[in-house]
Amino acid sequence: MHSYDYWLIIAFFAVVLVPAPFLGRFYYKVMEGQRTWLTPVFGPVERVCYRVAGVDAQQEQSWQKYTLALLAFNLAGFLLLFAILLFQDYLPLNPQQLPGQEWTQAFNTAVSFMTNTNWQSYSGEATLSYLSQMVGLTVQNFVSAATGLAVLVALCRGIGRKSASTLGNFWVDMTRATLYGLLPLCLVLALFLVWQGVPQTFAHYVDALTLQGIDQVIPLGPAASQIAIKQLGTNGGGFFGVNSAHPFEDPTAWANLFEVAAIIMIPVALVFTFGHYVKDLRQSRAILGCMLALFLIGGAVSLWSEYQPNPTLNNPAVEQTAPLEGKEARFGTTGTVLWSVTTTAASNGSVNGMQDSLNPLSGMVALVNMMVGEVIFGGVGAGMYGMLLNVLIAVFLAGLMIGRTPEYLGKKLQAREVQLLVVTLLVMPVGVLVLGAIAASVPATAATISNPGPHGFSQLLYAYTSASANNGSAFGGLGANTPFHNLMLGLGMLIGRFGYILPVLALAGSLAMKKSAPIGQNSFPTHGPLFVTLLTVTILLVGGLTFLPTLALGPIAEHLSMGF
């Protein structure tokens, strides 16, 4: 590693960690309707929204009504996007006259963006009109992240409130998350990216004649505005087919730094938001400690692995150095690895190099990051509510060990809460192992796998893990655009999204109703190093043990077979 590699890592952590406490407090104030410096700008917009929608911002909802509102809003968003993708050839802003998407692909894409997964079985510049990208996808990029944030604050209120029957108002939470939480940061990042070289125009693609006289089409579009929310909203769906590996999506090393930091900027801040809700920032620091520990372990393994020269390329005529297949020269090994680890730790799924060509153990780190349920920072809102589920499981385990009724921040965990927790534990195994096994046993799947040996299995495993974890990154060689994969992966994304959201909201409702017991000397402290260790081990054991056999068949077998 060179000095610029260290500078990149230092700058990354600085950009992510320094603003987090302030941003976390800002999110708390915004979601609780307190006045911030942005209120004069967005306050009037917010009030117009509520008036048009017939929403009373003071009227709170029970967990059932909150859930119903969320489902209705997501269903409406899905239907609108599905229709836009199917019929884009009849709609304006289609300068390249692209046809509508085939229906299974449109279903897959609409589910993908509605669930904040942003798995892509298409290549944007070749299949989607400007209208589909902008009015279709960008909108779901915003509101799917806002939905995740709404679910998180509902859970925070459930834990923080005492003997309460309501969790807040979904319409208000979603609106505030979009307007105050996402739009301002996106505006800043989008303009920074244009400055660095990302296009932002409605003009047609440009015809160029290269220096050696070859015709070249330069694809353009309103890219920067979409890329900003794609990163900040942990969405990950690229404007161009190769995502942020494309020089128009991520043109410079500086753009790369801020794009990769933008992936986890909001998820890290939300750890502090939780602390404000429960009025105990020690809890935030403990959870952040656990997330950072898991992130650093994965990052170290991935970096070490990716700096090993590929033994199968050992030849005197070939320079023996860190592999470069699928990587861009302007990012180098560290820039690509940092992105790979971050995008899978958070449920972003954008890439700046090809995951498929990573060394086996680097690919495995990406897989493990997703398999533990996207809780290492995770998606906007989704990462923190997923992490809180693990916290509750760790508290329950601790309760079993010391023989007392488990309680978290004064709330007793009883049969109903534990049942709901168990439901969420089944989401990843069902999505990855059941759907993945079905896919693996269908004969047609073999034709969609592009690499031989264990790596071919990893491609399939990665796809079903990515969909179920709502990540969206891929071992891109997999021919994912078949009706079978489009429908099955779409199902995986739905299970992965709502398999968490529904139990989490039920849990929030159940916790909100409880009285709060005073935290006495007998309570198990959840902010010390002992708990951080217990939490970290719980996450690795619950996630890791379930999937260890599949990792052995895929990346581990590949690693051993290559003779590193």
């Binding site: 909108v139 160029a208 290269t210 190769v242 005529a317 861009e328």
Partner: protein, 181 residues
């Protein structure tokens, strides 16, 4: 039920107007005024004003007289961009790399830099590491009958070294400067 359906549909429409229409329009408006060059694709034009490419998109260069770009899995196709997605253990990767190394290797210059043997993530990587340019200096100098030191100086002038990323040379910019020598 209408207490759910009305807000769902009206807020979806409003969010579409705000985030899907107003937001991209505002970004476009500001970008076109503040950074018109970048916002329109960082296009490169010749003396007659004809578009010869984009400084961010790689071009295919062949023959001894030009510095070659990184290999492209999609043959430099821009619509749509693509990568090889070859796994590290795929024998097709080793076969391709060894074949290309045999063609590119210059006796006495050591092994071929890996960047000249591997395809990039986008297939449109506009850059090469300086070592990969240096490996081509002798060939281009001989074909253009220029002293190697002149080209070396030209290369050094084109090295970009950001604080947070590896040093790179923009191949198109270098080749355009080469034409002006």
């Amino acid at each position: 039920m209408s207490s759910t359906i009305r807000p769902a549909i009206s807020l979806l429409v409003l969010m579409t107007l705000i985030t899907g229409v107003a937001y991209p329009l505002v970004v476009t408006g500001v970008a076109q005024v503040a950074f018109p060059d970048q916002a329109n694709g960082s296009l490169v034009r010749d003396a007659e004003g004809k578009v010869r490419g984009s400084s961010l998109i790689a071009q295919q260069f062949s023959g001894d007289r030009w510095f070659h770009s990184r290999p492209s899995a999609g043959a430099f196709a821009t619509v749509s961009s693509s990568a090889s997605n070859l796994g590290p253990s795929n024998p097709a990767l080793a076969t391709r790399v060894f074949e290309d190394a045999g063609k590119i290797q210059v006796p006495g210059q050591g092994p071929v830099p890996l960047a000249l043997l591997t395809t990039s993530g986008s297939g449109l990587d506009p850059h090469l590491p300086p070592q990969a340019i240096a490996y081509q200096l002798a060939r281009v100098a001989a074909a253009r009958q220029l002293p190697v030191s002149t080209l070396e100086r030209l290369m050094d002038e084109h090295i970009e070294q950001p604080l947070v990323g590896p040093p790179v040379v923009n191949v198109l910019a270098l080749n355009m400067a080469l034409e002006k020598l």
